[in-house]
Amino acid sequence: MEISQNTNTTDRKFALPVDSEHKSTEFRLFSIASPHMRAFHLSWISFFSCFVSTFAAPPLLPIIRDNLNLTATDIGNAGIAAVSGAVFARVAMGTACDLFGPRLASSSLILLTAPAVFLSLIANSPAAFLMVRFFTGFSLATFVSTQFWMSSMFSPNVVGTANGLSGGWGNLGGGATQLIMPLVYSLIHTNIGSTKFTAWRVAFFIPAFFQMLSAYAIFFLGQDMPDGNYVRLEKSGEKHKDSFSQVFYHAITNYRGWILALTYGYCFGVELTIDNIIAQYFYDRFNVNLHTAGIIAASFGLANLFSRPGGGILSDVVAKRFGMRGRLWTLWIVQMIGGLLCLLLGKIGSLSGSVAVMLVFSVFVQAACGLTFGVVPFISRRSLGVISGMTGGGGNVGAVLTQVIFFRGSRYSTEDGISLMGVMIMCCTLVILLIYFPQWGGLFCGPRKGVTEEDYYLSEWTTAEKEQGFHKMSLKFSENSRRERGKKGESVPLPSDKETPSTFV
């Protein structure tokens, strides 16, 4: 029986059924019950607002490029800048979540990047345009806090669903902005009567305010963990304040984090690249007008409404029967098919065929993103934030790489670039074969005999740290993650008596 120093938390009633870490074991979409579902809604809405801000410029480019006298090179560079800032910001965000908690980490980042959106209004040159897109792009690091928060609030059996929905509905912002910004612009230009070059500037107030308000909502309404905020939990001794160097070390020495960082670059990274180039592709190759190209571009991002969450849900459903091995197999298959469809997209010469393939491709590539974050929460318990950050950052690296290799200058035509990107997706996805969890197995190998979840998660703590009881949450997590053995693994060894709770009260 667990004895806690603060009796209030053990007596606490939650609106949803919870496990021993007080993480919810159910996901109820239409509830806003504190703290679990409220955290979900706060996180996806704030992430959505960051995506709206980051991709607010592309739909208004026909006006901005005339106002700021941009060349095609300027526009391409700004597009790359918009996604490259988040590469390191995501890793930093992961660390911040581990150390300060997702509530403070995300509201801080959002409030620090809101000025970049406000100052977009006064940009007057290509250089200024590049800078504001670069700094606004940092806000995409809220992805990491979103996934971390969900992994802190939801139990392993629903964590894929929670991660997939919050990530997917946030990504939706990239599609929604292609419809929102032109609408706001025309309201200001036509109804209020401002000139074109003033109207686009005023339109940027909308994403800026939305971002700022979502940060306030997180700060005042959100909570880091089911039992409270980091500050209070650390002061009362329920949560140990971890050391940065240890957290960082255990993240970067876990090879699985690096593998998923690479593969995420070829599902999410590809999604970002397509967000940047697809409107122009349809406009140039099939001669549709700008409005139509924008709608096609928007539909790619809007598929996130169900495709990424679908990936997360699929991950959880497969895990019920086949455990972690099922999650890994599904990820590998779905991402491979995504790569194949990308290859096909570049080869199709008809407009309707291209739109159809693009839509199917969007479902698979976004589902792969959801499936990736069905695996991430299990790679490390101590360094969950940094691992999430590395994977997220890897996604943006993939976006930068693919744009620089295939979509810059005139080395490849856009359709050749898309097909070659498909080949690269398939090649890079092969590394998933190398992931192996000793307690659960990998794609081709089963689990090692006698290895338990405790062995894996507690190896992140030294004996000295264990003696002081810092590893409590890893212990609870190990118990809760036993589901990842799947139906077949139910009779596999449990931890021996030497690791029972009596040592850490």
Binding site: P62, R65, D66, N67, N69, T71, A72, T73, L104, S107, S108, L111, L112, A114, P115, F118, L119, L121, I122, N124, T195, K196, F197, T198, W200, R201, V202, F205, A208, F209, M212, Y216, F219, N229, V231, R232, K235, S236, D284, N287
Partner: protein, 205 residues
């Protein structure tokens, strides 16, 4: 027989209409049958929304008389010079006039008269910063382009006008954006202060 002739004529007219619109008139098929000149008291550098451009056009007498028998309307357009088309595929010059993006700003459309034409145009506020020349297209009764004239030469390098666009910025917008940026960062500092106080209070408990 008469009915047959009538049907044939109608069919031929329709076909030629379709042919013209489907085929797409190319710029290289047009002759420079108009002489166009443009001038401004401000010289060759103009401010959008403020300065004026005086444009004069008349038929080119060196062409045989009767060339302009089909001319019905004249459209004056502001077109991008090659310097402002560099690295900007959305302003590309294409021979097929339907796909050509060189001339994106219409100045005025007028019924055609052979001479004594002049128009004073205040540069629109939404003209971007770039180098321009003026071109006039003439259209026949069906709206098909049949001739043109421009104030510059074949290589589009002579007699160009530089327009300085408005920035679109206003003092109120500038002030508002800076104020809200400061407010955003300031409220973050406030949040950290509140968090530290909360931490101290729970310790006291």
């Amino acid at each position: 027989m008469d009915q047959f002739h009538a049907m044939f004529a109608v069919g031929y007219l329709m076909l030629s209409c379709f042919a013209a619109t489907c085929y797409g008139v190319t710029f290289s098929s047009l002759h420079k049958t108009l002489i166009v000149s443009a001038s401004s008291p401000q010289g060759h550098v103009l401010k959008a929304g403020e300065d004026e451009l005086t444009i004069k056009w008349e038929v080119n007498q060196t062409f045989p008389p009767g060339t302009d028998s089909t001319y019905k309307t004249v459209k004056l357009k502001l077109c991008y010079a090659p310097e402002s088309q560099k690295d900007r595929p959305w302003r590309k010059t294409v021979d097929d006039l339907k796909k050509d993006k060189t001339c994106q700003h219409t100045i005025i459309a007028r019924p055609y008269t052979p001479s004594n034409n002049s128009f004073i145009w205040t540069v629109d506020r939404d003209i971007p910063s770039a180098m321009f020349f003026v071109r006039a297209y003439v259209y026949d009764g069906q709206g098909v382009a049949v001739g043109y004239g421009q104030n510059t030469d074949r290589s589009k390098t002579a007699d160009l006008f530089t327009v300085h666009a408005i920035t679109g910025r206003h003092v109120t917008i500038d002030v508002a954006s800076v104020c809200f940026s400061v407010f955003s960062v300031g409220s973050l500092v406030g949040f950290f202060y509140m968090e530290r106080r909360k931490g101290k209070v729970s310790l006291v408990k």
